[in-house]
């Protein structure tokens, strides 16, 4: 028998690793001894909980400053009246005024509708599509790596850049769509359909939202496919062999074996992507523009802003007294909406997810 190639190198690497490990162990022991000598030995005798808290302290400090404090502060700000963020002056306190103002605001209602349309159409669609793609990817052997890369590309690409590309692909208004064909309209014309002013003057609500939906679905596929594919590949092959012997059809195998066995992953994706879609912002900015509105002529401007977009618009004019409070109140309402749907999902999940 000849020695396999690289064996000697591997032995050398293994030995080097061994030495490094020994070195760090010695360093650790030396530090421990040193600390004991200067009277800090009690650090190693603290109860595990206290020690854990010491180790967690840096992370907790950062979370406290950048997460916990802002949460409580925004709740607090939402109770202020006429708050000026530069001078810190307020004209008084109120419990519900800011919330009521927001809830009565016509464009807030529109932003909730826009967000809901995006969330409740794109999330189920993305999950179904990514499940289908993952099952297909799990079933093929040749070019699998290539397909995986293709589907994963959007995940590692800047979403604003992608949105701009989408905006370009669906560009053109009622006057120019017939003369300057955008990619989408070229395709429509190719299959014998009329070009559509997707986003420009002459656009309708559904033409604009379908571009956003298309973008959201496509952009959301990547991560979900990776998660589902990992899940499907970790399913024991014997379940499929058993299903085959039991005479289950392809669809039945999918619905009765594959889906239940990756249900924890589907559930995880469902919750995170619903939360994510309620926070949609950058795709609307990139596709519709920084105003979030489409000037559409006769019917008046189309307001495509989402809830987060609506909140940010207040922050654009944060100098105006009271705007910060409106933004805070809208954030809390968004939080309550997300909380509501997440609790419902958790309740459903208890019965439907098999761990």
């Amino acid at each position: 028998m000849t020695e396999p190639k690289g064996t000697r190198l591997r032995v050398k690497v293994a030995r080097a690793k061994w030495h490094v490990r020994n070195f760090f162990q010695t360093v650790g022991e030396t530090i421990k001894k040193g600390l004991s000598k200067i009277g800090l030995g009690f650090l190693f005798k603290l109860p595990p909980f206290v020690r854990a808290m010491i180790y967690l302290a840096p992370a907790l400090a950062i979370l406290a400053v950048f997460t916990f404090y802002p949460i409580f502060n925004s709740v607090f700000i939402s109770f202020l009246k006429g708050y000026n963020m530069f001078t810190g002056e307020i004209t008084g306190y109120t419990l519900f005024d800011n919330y009521l103002t927001i809830l009565k605001h016509q464009s807030f209602a529109q932003s909730v509708i826009n967000t809901a349309v995006i969330a409740f159409i794109s999330v189920p669609l993305t999950i179904l599509l990514s499940l289908a793609v993952s099952v297909a990817l799990a079933a093929i052997k040749p070019l699998k790596g290539l397909y995986q890369t293709v589907f994963f590309l959007p995940y590692v690409t800047n979403s604003i850049a992608l949105g701009l590309v989408f905006a370009y692909m669906f560009s053109g208004n009622a006057n120019t769509i017939t003369t300057q064909l955008s990619l989408s309209n070229a395709i429509l014309k190719g299959i014998g359909l009329q070009p559509i002013a997707w986003l420009g003057i002459g656009a309708t609500y559904w033409s604009a939202i379908s571009v956003i939906l298309l973008y959201t679905v496509w952009n959301g596929l990547a991560f979900k496919i990776i998660v589902f594919l990992t899940g499907i590949q970790s399913i024991d092959k014997q379940y499929y062999q058993a299903a085959q012997i039991d005479g289950a059809s392809k669809f039945k195998t999918f619905s009765r074996v594959t889906v239940p066995l990756i249900s924890p992953m589907i559930f995880y994706i469902l919750i995170t992507s619903l939360i994510g879609s309620f926070k949609t912002y950058s795709s609307v900015v990139a596709i519709i523009g920084t105003t979030g509105r489409i000037t559409s002529g006769a019917t008046g401007p189309l307001d495509m802003r989402t809830i987060v977009f609506y909140i940010y618009d207040f922050l654009q004019n944060a100098g105006q007294p009271g705007n910060m409070s409106f933004a805070a109140a809208a954030s809390i309402i968004l939080f309550i909406i997300i909380l509501f749907f997440t609790v419902i999902q958790l309740q459903v999940g208890k019965r439907r997810v098999h761990y």
């Binding site: 014997q238 062999q241 058993a242 005479g247 059809s249 074996v257 066995l261």
Partner: protein
């Protein structure tokens, strides 16, 4: 259902194009209504054979017949088989009831009939009180029964079991082994099971097929194979403690190891390998080998005692004798029971009569 394997061959090819012959030209007729053990060491092709019978693996060559039907190209669900996987492959998200019912879901069976069959099978395997539990809530033995019930609920003609006892502890193994035998008797279904454990195979099979390197070594009833192995591999593979294998020569019809005459034979003069089962030694007054007690390694194991000693040129031999026969003896003399020395050809390993 009689199963015939005709020149069945399976060659696996890996990514680099290396070929491994897992099953090599297997020609077997498996009688109907019997419990058949497919026995061999790991890598001998026994599971591959089972999976080819099940239809989950495509043979590289040869044919499989169920009765008169050529099923080589028939899909697994149309072969009328039930398969119990080594780790049971029960669907973890379904209850025991749903698991057993699953094969019926895919057939044109009315719901009432499906429920009736499910309960009938659950009662047959003795888990009727566990129907609403999930597999994870059951013990290994109970899971095994559910798997058998699921395999049998379609009323298949053939039941296939892949290492059915390997995931059970020793006590459950004994119990399940009897259970499998009982279920087979009650249903009269042709059953093939795969195992690497010779004791297990011998204890429950009506007929045993011994495989090695993808080839059939011998097929017969367990006792027959144990007593009259066709070759040295079979002799070595069966029996615990294993058979003693010694080099010997035959001269003038006498089997000689060094200066010792171990018996007579009709074989031609020449060099042979001989095999003597440990239990074929016995303690006598004046035998072939005589030792002082301290010269022997003695291990008392209840009723029997294992005695280790050397014969010829440092050849270690194990003998299992009755404990009473060596008790309080300072000098022990051992001989071989009559005609119990097996003679094997040195080259081919096949038995020489």
């Amino acid at each position: 259902m009689e199963i015939r394997l005709k020149n069945l061959t399976k060659v696996f090819t890996d990514k680099r194009g290396n070929e491994t012959v897992a099953v090599d030209d297997l020609d077997v007729v498996i009688p109907s209504g019997k419990l058949i053990g497919l026995l061999g060491p790991s890598g001998c092709g026994k599971s591959t054979t089972l999976y080819m019978i099940a239809g989950l693996l495509k043979p590289s060559g040869g044919k499989i017949f169920f009765g008169d039907n050529d099923v080589t190209k028939v899909s697994p669900d149309k072969r009328g088989i039930g398969l119990v996987f080594q780790n049971y492959a029960l669907y973890p998200h379904m209850t025991v009831r749903q698991n057993i019912m699953f094969p019926l879901e895919n057939m044109k069976v009315s719901h009432d009939e499906a429920i009736r069959l499910t309960i009938e099978m659950a009662e047959l395997v003795g888990i009727a009180d566990q129907l609403d539990k999930k597999p994870a809530q059951l013990s290994g033995g109970q899971q095994q029964r559910v798997a058998i019930a699921r395999a049998l609920v379609k009323k298949p003609d053939v039941l296939l079991l892949d290492e059915p006892l390997s995931n059970l502890d020793a006590r459950l193994r004994l119990q399940t082994r009897e259970e499998i035998k009982r279920i087979q008797r009650e249903t009269g279904i042709t059953t093939i099971f795969v195992t690497h454990d010779q004791e297990e195979a011998m204890s429950i099979s009506d007929q045993m097929i011994v495989l090695d390197l993808g080839r059939m070594q011998q097929m017969d009833s367990p006792q027959e194979i144990y007593d009259e192995p066709d070759n040295l591999f079979v002799a070595k593979f069966l029996g615990s403690p294993p058979i003693n294998v010694i080099d010997a020569i035959v001269k003038d019809k006498k089997i000689m190891v060094g200066d010792l005459n171990l018996g007579t034979t009709k074989a031609k003069d020449g060099k042979y390998t001989i095999g003597i089962r440990p239990e074929d030694f016995r303690v006598v007054e004046d035998g072939l080998f005589t030792f002082k007690r301290e010269e022997l390694e003695i291990e008392v194991i209840g009723r029997d005692t294992m005695v280790r000693f050397t014969i010829g040129e440092n050849k270690m031999v194990r003998a299992v004798v009755e404990s009473d026969s060596v008790k309080d003896k300072d000098v022990i003399s051992i001989s071989i029971k009559k005609d119990k020395v097996l003679l094997f050809d040195k080259k081919s390993g096949s038995v020489v009569v």
